[in-house]
């Protein structure tokens, strides 16, 4: 999984691979073995190689989060998502609004792993609930909708990418 962030005006790209004990992270030329020890209430406790770290996070918007680590406060913004794979609107992993309405709840965040049929987003249109569910298992790669926002028919809402196994 590839993550691209904008921090203090510079772009940082990170790749995480699943690993028996956690993840392997590639950041530039550096490689780290990552083990998540504890995640609760916006607090992450994890191990990079042999060293333990703590980070505190808070979301301002789905794409903008505040992070505190080792005495520093950083604003981390998700860089614009690059389209890969299915590029046509309405492709299997590209979920669009079936009718105009309002986004009532976004149930996932970018990077979440989801299962087939899992509800991802709830819309309200003409007093009706519309549930947008995952067409297949995968990873959420992009969120284009915000809670409370209005959408038109066929607007792109969520992108789900299948994880190659």
């Amino acid at each position: 999984m590839k993550f691209t962030y904008q921090i203090n005006g510079a772009e940082h790209t990170l790749t995480l691979e699943k690993h028996p004990e956690g993840y392997r992270a590639h950041l530039g030329t550096a490689i780290y073995d990552v083990k998540l020890l504890h995640a609760k209430d916006g607090q992450l406790h994890f191990q990079l190689d042999e060293t333990r770290h703590t980070a505190h996070l808070a979301h301002e918007t789905p794409a903008k989060r505040w992070l505190h680590n080792a005495g520093r406060t950083l604003v981390i913004e998700k860089a614009a998502t690059h389209r890969r794979g299915a590029d046509t609107a309405g492709g299997s992993g590209r979920l669009t609004a079936p009718m105009p309405g309002q986004v009532r709840a976004v149930l996932v965040a970018v990077g979440n792993e989801v299962t087939a049929g899992q509800p991802l987003l709830l819309m309200e249109a003409m007093k009706m609930e519309i549930r947008i569910a995952a067409p297949h298992a995968g990873c959420i790669t992009a969120l284009h909708a915000t809670e409370g926002g209005s959408v038109n028919k066929d607007d792109l809402l969520i992108e789900v990418e299948e994880i190659p196994t």
Binding site: Y32, A39, F46, A58, L67, A70, I76
Partner: protein, 502 residues
């Protein structure tokens, strides 16, 4: 305390919270006032009663004397504590409170008046032997101004006689700019204070700002509680304060303390107050700047080294109690530092920041005190001062206090809006500050274009990715606003929001 048992706190933010807690400790019932956007503020929730003063604009709420005094009457409060800022140094406000038969927790209105007029205060200080900055007042016309400037020399400072808060203040570097600067200062002073009288003062470029805390009872005893150094400033606003001052030794402390006591006595001062001096770090000559006739923002560092609760003493003095100790009984103990946590962007001209403080916490520990008016979820509006909290540490000596402050700031969380938290750490780590040599130009000279360090720790980037993968439990979301319709089926959905792991 016989005279009053219910006190109206005519302020907001951290100082209102601090005053309310002091009331509780003394068995007094605190009443809050608030403006509309502050309806849910911490100080409102902590008080026994609360009165809405009006809309956000301070002029229509916290600065409206009639509304504040009415609120006291309405709630049965017999005393009013003004805090700092707002109406705290307004002699008319103090007088109206007294005329309404209430107790003003502060000095007599005459003392506020005497110190409020900078020109008159200079004259009075000179006549009682308190050294003032070389300068001149009572300048009737341009010729007088030119004559005075020639005697004082350049650079010099033009100030509004009625002024304060940097309004009507001008630095003039040469005779060529003098009259133009004076005209501008006059216009600004007339606009801000309705009074265009000016004073001239020599501008000391490498000076230290050192102030003396005064405590005076109504029985003739006036004491000083040592000094505070507040040289680290941005735009004439203090950022870090410490006590004792690294520049002041015992003999200078005694001299400055005696001068401050004399200054206070000259105007018949009672209650807590602060006499500000500027000090030449080379000659150690000190000059009276002004007296702040109220509680200071930075009073906690004096409380730490003196062991005295200044707010308690404000109430007790106002209730007529005599100070049970004398100057010889007081000795400073250890070293205290205060950092002001501001919602502002030090990398962008200290522009105030607004928004929601998504997460706020400070570490507990020995020698750590946090005076705060905010909590996680507080909305920081553009209407008032950007001060979020004061972080105060106390330790055996300056080195230990600096270390304690650094670790405290490192473990402080202020997420959701830009603050000066990283900038404060940069100041504390700067060799000039560490050496105790910072002057009032420290920030301009040594950290003029400060930017956050460009290197981003790998752990931070990895943490961001881990948070995305484990989002439901690992990140704090702002809560979605529920549907307005109570019968809406959407209300039930909040229960299974995956992001609901706040």
């Amino acid at each position: 305390m016989p005279q009053f048992d219910r006190v109206l706190i005519a302020n907001r933010g951290e100082i209102a919270v601090r005053l309310i807690r002091a009331c509780r400790e003394l068995g007094l019932s605190p009443v809050a006032v608030y403006s509309e956007p502050d309806a849910d503020a911490l100080h409102v929730r902590l008080a026994d009663g609360a009165v809405c003063l009006g809309p956000a604009a301070a002029r229509e709420s916290y600065l409206d004397m009639n509304k504040v005094i009415d609120a006291a009457r309405q709630t049965g409060a017999q005393a009013i504590h003004p805090g700092y800022g707002f109406l705290s140094e307004n002699a008319e406000f103090a007088r109206r409170i007294i005329n309404a038969g209430l107790v003003f927790i502060g000095p007599p209105p005459e003392a506020i008046e005497a110190m409020g007029d900078k020109a008159a205060a200079r004259t009075r200080m000179q006549s009682s032997g308190v050294p003032v900055v070389p300068g001149a007042q009572d300048l009737a016309d341009d010729t007088k101004i030119q004559q005075a400037a020639a005697t004082i020399g350049y650079p010099l400072l033009i100030k509004a006689a009625a002024g304060g808060g940097g309004k009507g203040m001008r630095i003039v570097h040469s005779a060529a700019d003098l009259l133009e600067g004076a005209a501008a200062a006059r216009r600004e002073a007339l606009h801000a204070f309705g009074d265009d009288r000016l004073i001239l003062e020599k501008y000391l470029t490498d000076a230290r700002h050192i102030e003396i805390q005064i405590l005076a009872d109504q029985h003739g005893q006036t004491l000083h509680l040592f000094e505070r150094e507040c040289s680290v400033q941005r735009r004439h606003q203090k950022v870090i304060e410490e006590a004792p001052s690294p520049l002041v030794d015992e003999s200078l402390r005694a001299k400055m303390g005696a001068a401050a006591v004399a200054a206070a006595k000259t105007v018949g001062y009672t209650n807590a107050g602060t006499v500000e001096f500027i000090v030449d770090p080379v000659t150690r000559d000190f000059y009276f700047l002004e007296m702040n006739t109220r509680l200071q923002v930075e009073h906690p560092i004096t409380e730490a080294i003196s062991g005295l609760d200044l707010v308690h003493w404000q109430f007790r003095i106002a209730a007529g109690e005599a100070l049970p100790f004398q100057q010889a009984d007081l000795t400073p103990r250890g070293h205290a530092i205060e950092c002001r946590l501001y919602a502002e962007d030090p990398a962008n001209g200290f522009l105030p920041a607004t928004g929601t403080l998504l997460k706020f916490s400070t570490p507990p520990g020995p020698g750590i005190r946090v005076d705060s008016g905010v909590e996680s979820g507080s909305v920081i509006s553009p209407h008032y001062d950007p001060l979020l909290a004061k972080i105060i540490v106390h330790a055996a000596d300056r080195t230990a206090a600096l270390q304690r402050m650094q670790t405290t700031l490192q473990d402080t969380l202020a997420l959701g809006l830009t603050t000066n938290l990283d900038f404060l750490q940069a100041i504390l780590a700067h060799p000039v500050f560490v050496a105790g040599e910072a002057t009032t130009h420290f920030i301009d000279q040594h950290l003029p274009n400060w930017q956050p360090a460009p290197d981003i720790p790998a752990a931070a980037i990895i943490a961001a990715a881990l948070a995305e993968l484990h989002s439901p439990s690992a990140t704090t979301h702002t809560t979605a606003s529920p549907s307005q319709d109570p019968h809406s089926p959407w209300l039930r959905l909040t229960g299974f929001r995956m992001g609901g792991g706040e």
